[in-house]
Point group: C2
Chain length 284, copies 2
């Protein structure tokens, strides 16, 4: 039975769970390699990323590349992004690559982004925005072997403007005091309806631990959540883990970007955060 479940598992999730075990890590390093912040000795963003990757590859469960930092400088940035993905594929093929693109367009237009992310960059997962609905995102959701990570409750201070809107009581698909909020409804739709290929994950910011707890309740135990916002954005690691871990002490990808890549010693910084996570896991 367990073997059957394993067979049915999405390839990205399998890859993720394998590396989590091997590297004993729930940490994702976000290669937010802002061209204005990387040391001048590096000729391009790829050269900087290479150093970070070589220093941290045995300590992480994934790398996340946010397209904004690469597209900022036009086609040269896209080229650095590609070189980074190619390098990861070749040198560390066991580590999943997440492209943090937060894309969403109508139907077939999304095929352009699918090609960018899964053909050109050959990545394992992508972040997408839910506003246009499941039907629009079909080209992403149809990627059976990939991960599709849908924004639910984002880490920014003003995330609640729409995400926290309480819906009319007719949408009360789960019992929640005070009425169901938009982000909770998104979590429900994704977990219960969009996830036909078992390739969906969600994004919930570490800056909102009680919302993370609500989302975990809605999506159930067997679901991965990408959590940005620990570190530079001020999300509390311990509260995040307490709120979001599943019964196997897994189910969370904890992303750290600036706090690691622009630290004096990225390897030591990554180790430090991994240790912090281990402490909580052994306690829980």
């Amino acid at each position: 039975m367990k073997n059957d479940n394993e067979k049915l598992k999405n390839i990205f999730i399998k890859k993720l769970e394998t590396i989590v075990k091997k590297n004993q890590s729930l940490l994702c390093v976000g290669l937010d390699s802002d061209i204005d912040k990387i040391p001048k000795k590096f000729t391009d963003q790829f050269e900087f990323n290479k150093v970070i990757i070589d220093a941290t590859h045995d300590l992480v469960c994934s790398y996340k590349l946010n397209t904004a930092f690469y597209e900022a400088i036009g086609y040269k940035g896209i080229f650095s992004l590609k070189k980074t993905c190619d390098y990861l594929r070749k040198k560390y093929p066991e580590i999943p690559i997440i492209i943090d693109a937060k894309r969403a367009d109508i139907g077939n237009t999304n095929l352009g982004y699918v090609r960018l992310i899964f053909e050109y960059l050959n990545a394992d997962a992508v972040t997408v925005n839910p506003y246009l609905g499941e039907e629009a995102l079909t080209p992403f959701l149809a990627q059976k072997d990939k991960g599709v990570i849908i924004l639910c409750k984002t880490s920014n201070p003003g995330a609640g403007e729409f995400q926290d809107l309480v819906l009319s009581s007719k949408y009360q698909v789960v019992s929640i005091k005070g009425g169901i909020k938009l982000y909770q409804y998104v979590a429900y739709q994704v977990a219960k309806k969009w996830n036909k290929n078992k390739n969906c994950l969600l994004v919930v910011g570490a800056t909102y631990p009680s919302e993370l707890k609500e989302v975990r309740k809605i999506v159930g135990d067997d679901f991965w959540i990408l959590v940005p916002g620990v570190g530079a954005q001020g999300g509390d690691l311990q509260e995040t883990l307490k709120a979001g871990l599943n019964s196997k002490k897994q189910g969370l990808i904890i992303n750290l970007s600036r706090a690691v890549i622009f630290s004096k010693n990225p390897r030591e910084e990554t180790k430090k955060w991994r240790r912090e996570i281990e402490k909580v896991l052994s306690r829980k």
Copy 2:
């Protein structure tokens, strides 16, 4: 008084209104130059775009470039996108360039996209996704001279999954039978709160004329709405104009992409659509 109003106007809006008048056109041509669909004689997407632009420049009020069709092929696509924008800037500087990027990330990460769109591509306006809220989109909204076009009701068949959700009655900021829907609340927030720099527009699909009418009511007369979905997607031109035009018979940017650029004669096709619009305008 009228001159004062003109002075206060956002540069993108001024540019748009000037070309609308000069070219007598509310038509925007969407350069959705899918690499698999453009005739093989063209060496890149830019060469194709150039032909379309030269054939239609005196008939349109803007060009819209959707990043998905360019990013599909990686850095070469971004290069074609840039060459197209550079060509427009140089040869037809009076025509506004809209980058249909539908981006949204948290706070400063958006600066990367701002650089891509307003520095690297030197465009006039961008489409963005509202899900993360005004605070996250500040780097876009702070561009006083540019246009920020926020997705409201998108043209895809499944747009309603979240956009049509009825909100709790406590958000009933405008009187709407059956309760206010998310897309209406987005329209309200954008028009009444986000628009401090008078640089906001909205996207409403031509496939939803009654929703367009609702949005026009909410945002008022002096507001531009970008309307995709006429043509290949099946939105009815006459109904769209009836539902969305303001009292000056303006306020709508009618986008046509595939129906024009992949037609046998793009110039004649654009003329035909412009004539169709004129017919309705002279009747109304």
